[in-house]
């Protein structure tokens, strides 16, 4: 359904001396209808940037994004409008995506207003249905965002995203700021909605437990690249970075403080981007690494077999 080919994104900053920082380097991915894909990685690995380029909120430096066979990249905003309701992004901070000066009801109704072609009654009926779908009652409707809790607000955001009957929801750390019980509620709700509507879900998260609990397929990202991709990644991790992540979740071997630096590789270095921090590195790691198929799993490490 959604397909990305060789996606690159580069941030430029600085006025006099421009500093370029690649956030996404050559990502290929494909998402099928009704599937749940988790993209995991530490903060700063480029997963949020990837999400934004997928939904066309950021224009990639190179590479293409296809949606159901249509090429989205390079499309004018006017043509893109038709696809906008179909792919929706649910960001981390719900209080940022609803206008603080609007009641939440008005925020949920906004997609219908913008798309036109809906009568007042239709909008009301639709908004009621959406509120019910995310488990909010009528008393929430006239409230302002600051009068709702984080979990309730995130449900408002989801209701709004569902308004235009999307085929794909991209959740960018949508639950990581919430309490466990609220997180459990939102995730279960999203899975229910997915079952009912048959939509695709992309979960972008640094919480491996959530990723494991919800996803059919996992992509592990490091320094803008996908280092491992497959179905049972967490049961049988092949890439050293995936293993490091899993160790961290289980709080294994707490005697040493792991280095967090080391992402800055020398200019022109083409080898494995993880080799600085990898405990199993050898000289062969200086060679460029390709995603290889290792018994149904894609791994960017020459060692794995």
């Amino acid at each position: 359904m959604l397909k990305a080919e060789n996606l690159h994104f580069v941030y430029t900053s600085g006025l006099i001396k421009t500093i370029k920082k690649a956030a996404v380097c050559g990502v290929d991915l494909e998402i099928f209808p009704g599937e749940t894909v988790a993209i995991v990685g530490e903060s700063g690995c480029g997963k949020s940037t990837l999400a934004k380029t997928l939904v066309q909120q950021l224009v990639p430096a190179s590479g293409e994004v296809f949606f159901g066979g249509t090429k989205l990249t390079g499309m004018s905003w006017k043509n893109l409008r038709k696809f906008m309701g179909k792919i929706q992004l649910i960001p981390q901070n719900p209080d940022d995506v609803v206008d603080p000066k609007w009641t939440v009801e008005r925020s949920v109704a906004e997609p219908f207003v913008i798309c036109r072609g809906f009568s007042k009654e239709e909008i009301l009926v639709n908004v009621d249905a959406l509120f019910a779908e995310v488990g909010l009652s009528a008393e929430h409707k006239p409230r302002y965002p600051h009068e709702l809790s984080g979990g309730e607000l995130q449900r408002v955001v989801i209701a709004r995203a569902l308004a235009l009957k999307p085929d794909l929801l991209v959740c960018d750390e949508a639950t990581s700021m919430l309490d466990v019980s609220v997180q459990a509620f939102i995730v279960t709700m999203l899975k229910d909605i997915q079952k009912k509507r048959g939509l695709g879900l992309v979960f972008i998260t640094h919480d491996l437990e959530v990723a494991k609990a919800v996803s059919d397929r996992v992509l592990v990202m490091y320094a803008g690249e996908i280092v491992e991709e497959g179905k049972d990644v967490f049961d049988r991790p092949l890439h050293p970075y995936t293993r490091a992540l899993l160790d961290a979740v289980q709080y294994a071997s707490l005697e040493v403080v792991l280095p967090e630096e080391g992402r800055a590789l020398p200019d022109g270095f083409t080898g494995c981007s993880y080799c600085r921090l990898c405990r199993e590195r050898t000289d062969a790691c200086k060679e460029p690494q390709k995603l290889r198929d290792v018994s149904g799993r894609l791994v960017r490490c020459w060692k794995s077999k």
């Binding site: 903060s43 459990a184 437990e209 959530v210």
Partner: protein
């Protein structure tokens, strides 16, 4: 008992807001032994941070406090502000959630880390500097002599967090209160925070960890207290707690954790302004009966305590 370090009894905090008074902490009672890691878990808005602030006597000025806090035998809840300043940082130190907000951006990290040493231990500039370097080295901030002279913005997030722990432990406190040290932090950084906390606690410092992160509490704590809606509903040893949580809320909370299937707790968290009558969890509790409408007793059971009628 002589090995009790912190004893909190009957502490209540009420905060007036525009919509009515909020009883953020209701009759909290627990004690922390020396060298113990005690973790207070609960969801946001359950008043656990306020409890931490109450112990440090850093509550918002309009909050109403009652109860008793004893630290190493002295009652600190009745000390004057001036005497309290001597306790803060020396016997009990707090580690803030956000290192970028907690560190002064205009002062060198080394100077900030040395501050408690100079204020509480009366060390000279030279002595404190040497010790700061040692402390930074201890927390893997290397090369310490160079890093000591740098400013907070030159540090990475994880490193600044470690520097903050170095500052908190600079005057060798007996107790550290860490409020949500892992909020919004990814797995690798979380693991590193756990690693340095372990390091500090193995040196004999007791911890009060205030967190909503069940996994982190599980990795760190010796004993767990569960906070719901301003009340501590269960206190238990870690192994016993994770093996068999007693309070219905504790059970529901653990069931909501991803590795246990992410079962949401039915119902909504009650508003802190209009708390339910009797047991505060009863509207969402699967075991509720009529007696739950009256305040449940705190039941002592094999060294654990539960605030629930089921065990009465």
């Amino acid at each position: 008992m002589s090995d009790v370090l912190l004893k909190v009894s009957g502490v209540s905090v009420t905060i007036p807001t525009g919509k009515g008074a909020v009883q953020a902490v209701d009759d909290a009672a627990f004690s922390i032994n020396k060298h113990e890691v005690f973790s207070l878990i609960g969801e946001s808005g359950s008043g656990k941070s306020i409890l931490g602030q109450a112990i440090m006597r850093l509550l918002p000025p309009n909050a109403v406090f009652s109860g008793k806090v004893e630290l190493g035998g002295t009652e600190i809840s009745s000390l004057s502000e001036k005497e309290m300043q001597k306790v803060r940082g020396k016997t009990v130190a707090s580690i803030a959630q956000n290192p970028y907000l907690a560190m002064n951006p205009g002062i060198r990290v080394g100077t900030q880390v040395a501050e408690p040493m100079r204020a509480h231990l009366g060390m000279s500039k030279k002595d404190s500097k040497a010790r700061t370097c040692r402390a930074l080295k201890y927390f893997d901030i290397i090369p310490a002599e160079v890093r000591e002279r740098e400013y907070p913005f030159q540090y990475s997030g994880g490193m600044l967090q470690r520097a903050m722990v170095a500052m908190g432990t600079a005057a060798n406190p007996e107790l550290i209160i860490a409020d949500e040290p892992t909020k919004g932090v990814d797995v690798l950084k979380k693991r590193n925070i756990a690693a340095i906390f372990k390091k500090v606690s193995s040196d004999g410092c007791a911890f009060l960890l205030i967190t909503h992160d069940v996994g982190f509490a599980r990795a760190m704590a010796d004993r767990i207290a569960v906070n719901y809606c301003g009340q501590i509903v269960e206190i238990a040893e870690k192994e016993a707690f994770f093996k068999e949580p007693l309070h219905p809320y504790s059970q529901a909370l653990l069931d909501a954790v991803p590795e246990r299937g992410m079962h949401p707790i039915p119902g909504l968290s009650p508003s802190m302004i209009e708390v339910p009558e009797g047991c505060r969890f009863h509207p969402r509790c699967p075991y509720k009966t009529d007696r739950c409408l009256t305040n449940p007793p705190v039941v002592e059971l094999d060294g654990r305590s539960v605030r629930c009628w089921v065990y009465a």
